[in-house]
Symmetry: D2
Amino acid sequence: MTTGVWLIGARGSVAVTSMVGATALRAGLAEPLGCVTELPELASEAVPGLGDLVFGGHDISDITLEKKVEDLVAAGVLPARPAAAVADKLAALERELRPVPSAATQLETARLIAEDIDDFRRRRGLVRVVVVNVSSTEPAVVPHPAHGVLADLEDALSSPGAILPPSSLYAYAALVAGCSYVDFTPSTGTRLPALRELASSAGLPYAGHDGKTGETLVKSVLAPMFAMRNLRVRTWAGTNLLGGGDGANLADPAANAAKAGSKQRVLAETLGYQPQGSSHIEYVDDIGDFKTAWDLITFSGFLGTRMRMEFSWHGCDSALAAPLVLDLARLTAAAHAAGRSGPLTELAFFFKDPIGEVPHDLPGQWAALVAFVRGLDGAA
Amino acid sequence: MTTGVWLIGARGSVAVTSMVGATALRAGLAEPLGCVTELPELASEAVPGLGDLVFGGHDISDITLEKKVEDLVAAGVLPARPAAAVADKLAALERELRPVPSAATQLETARLIAEDIDDFRRRRGLVRVVVVNVSSTEPAVVPHPAHGVLADLEDALSSPGAILPPSSLYAYAALVAGCSYVDFTPSTGTRLPALRELASSAGLPYAGHDGKTGETLVKSVLAPMFAMRNLRVRTWAGTNLLGGGDGANLADPAANAAKAGSKQRVLAETLGYQPQGSSHIEYVDDIGDFKTAWDLITFSGFLGTRMRMEFSWHGCDSALAAPLVLDLARLTAAAHAAGRSGPLTELAFFFKDPIGEVPHDLPGQWAALVAFVRGLDGAA
Amino acid sequence: MTTGVWLIGARGSVAVTSMVGATALRAGLAEPLGCVTELPELASEAVPGLGDLVFGGHDISDITLEKKVEDLVAAGVLPARPAAAVADKLAALERELRPVPSAATQLETARLIAEDIDDFRRRRGLVRVVVVNVSSTEPAVVPHPAHGVLADLEDALSSPGAILPPSSLYAYAALVAGCSYVDFTPSTGTRLPALRELASSAGLPYAGHDGKTGETLVKSVLAPMFAMRNLRVRTWAGTNLLGGGDGANLADPAANAAKAGSKQRVLAETLGYQPQGSSHIEYVDDIGDFKTAWDLITFSGFLGTRMRMEFSWHGCDSALAAPLVLDLARLTAAAHAAGRSGPLTELAFFFKDPIGEVPHDLPGQWAALVAFVRGLDGAA
Amino acid sequence: MTTGVWLIGARGSVAVTSMVGATALRAGLAEPLGCVTELPELASEAVPGLGDLVFGGHDISDITLEKKVEDLVAAGVLPARPAAAVADKLAALERELRPVPSAATQLETARLIAEDIDDFRRRRGLVRVVVVNVSSTEPAVVPHPAHGVLADLEDALSSPGAILPPSSLYAYAALVAGCSYVDFTPSTGTRLPALRELASSAGLPYAGHDGKTGETLVKSVLAPMFAMRNLRVRTWAGTNLLGGGDGANLADPAANAAKAGSKQRVLAETLGYQPQGSSHIEYVDDIGDFKTAWDLITFSGFLGTRMRMEFSWHGCDSALAAPLVLDLARLTAAAHAAGRSGPLTELAFFFKDPIGEVPHDLPGQWAALVAFVRGLDGAA
Ligand SMILES: NC(=O)c1ccc[n+]([C@@H]2O[C@H](COP(=O)([O-])OP(=O)(O)OC[C@H]3O[C@@H](n4cnc5c(N)ncnc54)[C@H](O)[C@@H]3O)[C@@H](O)[C@H]2O)c1
Ligand SMILES: NC(=O)c1ccc[n+]([C@@H]2O[C@H](COP(=O)([O-])OP(=O)(O)OC[C@H]3O[C@@H](n4cnc5c(N)ncnc54)[C@H](O)[C@@H]3O)[C@@H](O)[C@H]2O)c1
Ligand SMILES: NC(=O)c1ccc[n+]([C@@H]2O[C@H](COP(=O)([O-])OP(=O)(O)OC[C@H]3O[C@@H](n4cnc5c(N)ncnc54)[C@H](O)[C@@H]3O)[C@@H](O)[C@H]2O)c1
Ligand SMILES: NC(=O)c1ccc[n+]([C@@H]2O[C@H](COP(=O)([O-])OP(=O)(O)OC[C@H]3O[C@@H](n4cnc5c(N)ncnc54)[C@H](O)[C@@H]3O)[C@@H](O)[C@H]2O)c1
Ligand code: NA
Ligand code: NA
């Protein structure tokens, strides 16, 4: 059941950590920590194994994998030992990466993107490819009338000009190439009616948005705790200090706004009201991939007594994200194989800003995920 | 459905906050924050209302309720306004409190305790009384051969000497008086085979042990988060700084050990292994009822990358405990009415050290609690 | 040595806490905690006593002192007992407060302000009045050519239009009225060449800027610690969550910028370089006067080993500021009496953004303060 | 001015980090971060340079330096690059280490220790050797009548039996060998009248006790801040989680007590009173050399308003200690050269539990240190 994983942003931190990690795990160099799909509760014949994954992808950067791995080791993201052990596999991975095509119209660019993916599938003899967007976060999309209906969209794409943001153009190309699509970023991706129409008519599944790796993960268990205990959260304010490629990108207020939005939604959804306070993101180059988040929560209990909680989270963003990218690729491929199409709402467990009317508490999302995998077994 | 609540330790912080709070809530002076049974998911005709509760109890102390309320207001545990508003109700509450009886043998003492409870029931015309232990934490029990079988126990109790620790003598007396029993403390209470035999033969329900109000509550949602994400917790070390009556008592290493034990169990039960580190309790008079707990968690993720989280919790212990005491009294009375006997394992949600083979993650305990209340509806 | 203290912003939190606090201390209702001038090292015959202070002031608000005290008690800023004990003194204080005068030109307005102050001095038979600005923080000043020279300034003030921001107009009026001036806010105040000229020609002392009460206070001892140990601070990033009147005002980005600037200066001055990271201020209504600040510091030691420190500070801003307002009034009055004129650089201890080339480490500022007081003794 | 540094506990973490670090710095492989004596304020011709130090020492362990360096690199204490760069220097260092001699009486053992040191001095042609104790912390000393007078002590040492704890026996041997002595540990060392007598009659300087590297360092700047602001500290409670060799040793309650004592003294000395709360040490193997300390400080300000501060410190103990060991060796050697004898109280800056009536605030200690170095210049 060899499965292709085509990474948009394939030379970035998350992508490279995913590829190197999968290679190291396949070689038995480490335990599959962080890989949710490896938990006994989710074991399933219907889901491709870690060793069944084959990687390729697009990136606008031309940094070599060798250099990127060196940087990730120096930054403490990739441990030196497994990185060294897979050094001889980098050349083979490198051969599957492609520069981003560019043409006179977006329709033509999409065709070239789809062609790259299709080549990969044929060359490697793959039944199925999942396209995963792990490229830089985009600013919020500029609405366009052609976003509503597929026919209008394809019409508009065939003239010069940028109708779609990159994440959506990749999504369009992936679906055209018959691939499922996962959006690990807060970018627009499939979130346009015309693209939903395309996925549905092509019978393809997709998942998103924005991998849940740090502060939001903690929120998705703490906020339900306050709710279950009938404690009123008055303020929930957070600060995220992060560096690295993604950090630099988020320093741009437009991209930042998209991300900060995703991060507070969990509170309103699990508490039933929006407490005061916001989630602040600050770029600090020195912090690199080891994000530090600090949150203050003030709450009221019996007879209004005022109490508070603080937490700080010091997590390595790429090390938290990479195993989820592997999980998502495996689960989405399995859903595709099982004939699922449209949004995979049962994968909300993995996302800050999940699609659909789904639970936002982590345990509820976990229950949905377990049921989803059991359903795949049944379908097999 | 007027229900009696008989509090052991009725002049302590938790007990007085419970009684004053219930009185203030009944008078509509505050929202029922912290009261789990008031959440819409747990609404049930089978459960007595907050306004249906009537209080009495035993205490070895002779501090007046008036003085105790004054202290709790000064300490910021009870807000001044509701406390003032119920001042004229304290005399009536005071009339229902009794000194702890004492006699030549424990059997005779138990008979006198039961008599006090029975008087209360008859005087107030109550169908049912729940006895709730909120007295000072005891040292670990000294094993005695007569603890095993009820007949042996009653035999031993009829000679002079202390066969049972106070919490268990109260439990015995409660059951003899036909009352259900809740242990909100880490003390022994019903945890002796002879007492389980008595509860079962008398057809009475009981619940325990040790109300879950602070650090352990947080652990019961964070530890499952690490488990669901396949992150390996290496260290979980905690410090609890607390004052107040209970704090002073816990400064005694013997009582302390019982409590610290309850506090780490949740980790082994939810993670499947015991991480390094312990839970340290320190008495600091100045801190009073506003406990500060700090926990450090170190964990490993993808390829072994090391990460960490810290939290600090600044909660008012009595304000967190009191609404749970009311919840437990209401739910246990409802179970009694529905004919339940033996341990109420579905109430694990409320306890640090729950009885039986039950979930230790808060969401699992919540699901069990919801099902329990729905079951009561069915039985009604 | 009865000394007048004329407060700009006299109905604000800091002002009212200062007046009520001084009244309570004079009545012996509390120890003089937070009052630096009460420390034995600063005892001096040359400095007026706490009991020698007499208050008046301007405010644009017409909230009564009674209502403001009630609010401050409800918010936990003023303890209920001393507040109640001085309730009968509020009417007398109220009689000394004045609305802000307004006239056709700023020169005329200044004349009316000076007249109010002069009336106060004569009515109360005061030798000396210190004007202290504790009004809302202003946006950064708009430069104007007339700010450079006193003659030009007075010329420009005599035409309609706003040449000076309020803080500077008050400073001008204070100096014209023969009063010393303290700027407890980050506003412009005396920071214009024309006003420095006036102070010098009038032989009057002044001090500023921006009372140092929380995060910056901690920085002024921690940053020197890193410097003395030759540890390289890489990042120093902070978040300040605050509500209250001042918080609402700082939510305005323009005012905010002035404040955040003051807050980082201490690092460059004590470390000799500017680490990465900024100081972020967020308004959270619920937090009120009890500001929570959190700072992350990352640093490198021997052979470059990377380490970190975090702190969180939960302080009541007005309770920290009020005693410093009293200290500054007493010390500035004493300097005035001793014939000092121009900037009182020795009062840097009290300010986030002190005037002049002065030490920015707290111990260095303390040494300068002690020497200053000893110098006053000598002058006496 | 080549100076010998003889390390007791030469195969331990602090010792090996010191030796490897000095070697790397001499080779220009890193900046001298953490080295106080390299600050411009302390530059002096009278103090030997980092490159003038030559190392030897005793240890009871026979772990090789190569293995120990490997462990320290794996633990993140020594960065990989400088460690690799000095690998070829380890054999030379190894040749200067000696097993701990043992004989029938402690007097004879001391003679053999002194002989090892003397051999080192002659072999390497050194004018002067400083003996620095960085071996495991001992339990509190058992008093013995012979500790009072040198003649009695030497008499008692000549019979079989353990009259002196190891740290004091090393101190005795060092002084007998004409060497100055630094105690970087909380052990007894020179703290016996008979040894003070010996140092004074031999005209030798000594310094101690217990290197100040983490929580106590922070206390020595924060506590004076509260004092200078007349804020009353009510509680100061701390938890130290640490692993590593020293951590394992401190898990022993007897050694632990000595250390926890040193850690709270700074508060009483700088505040003038002892706040509530204690300093708790817990051994957590996983934490290794990267200690995490958390402190809670509650304090009262104006009119008694209650406030709080928390900090957490995540420092690498050996990386903080090693540069101080180098500083102390250089400064003590310079004092010896300048003819100083007896306790070097001006080195209090470096110690948790400094000898003599000295300032306990870091800035006061810094001033004393600067004056001390300037005095050496004068003496030269
Ligand atoms: N790491 C986490 O915890 C986490 C969590 C949730 C979401 N994300 C998202 O994952 C994404 C990747 O994060 P990262 O840390 O790897 O960032 P990164 O900056 O290291 O990598 C992004 C890569 O995308 C490439 N790229 C940019 N525009 C592109 C385009 N138009 N086409 C193809 N490639 C393009 C860049 O050249 C770069 O190599 C970000 O959007 C981030 O917000 C990460
Ligand atoms: N507050 C919480 O968050 C919390 C959480 C879990 C468990 N608990 C447990 O609840 C209990 C009560 O806590 P608290 O803060 O109210 O303590 P407290 O010290 O204020 O009150 C205890 C009361 O019990 C009384 N008492 C002691 N021995 C007695 C006896 N033999 N018979 C009758 N009365 C006796 C005391 O006189 C006192 O009035 C403690 O055991 C505590 O461990 C509290
Ligand atoms: N509290 C602290 O710790 C602290 C520290 C440093 C500086 N400060 C500064 O002190 C000032 C006061 O803080 P606060 O918390 O009392 O604020 P506040 O909002 O409670 O009070 C400010 C008062 O100034 C009045 N005011 C506004 N404009 C005025 C004008 N033109 N003339 C006269 N009065 C005017 C307002 O009506 C209000 O009553 C702020 O500028 C703040 O930045 C406070
Ligand atoms: N690292 C710090 O921040 C710091 C701060 C203050 C004090 N200290 C003290 O420094 C000492 C060393 O700390 P470490 O982390 O290097 O510990 P460590 O356990 O790594 O090293 C101690 C060494 O001493 C050796 N030793 C034990 N007994 C001996 C004896 N009788 N004679 C000779 N050698 C002996 C051990 O074999 C070991 O090699 C400890 O006492 C510690 O308390 C360390
Ligand atoms: Na931390
Ligand atoms: Na806190």
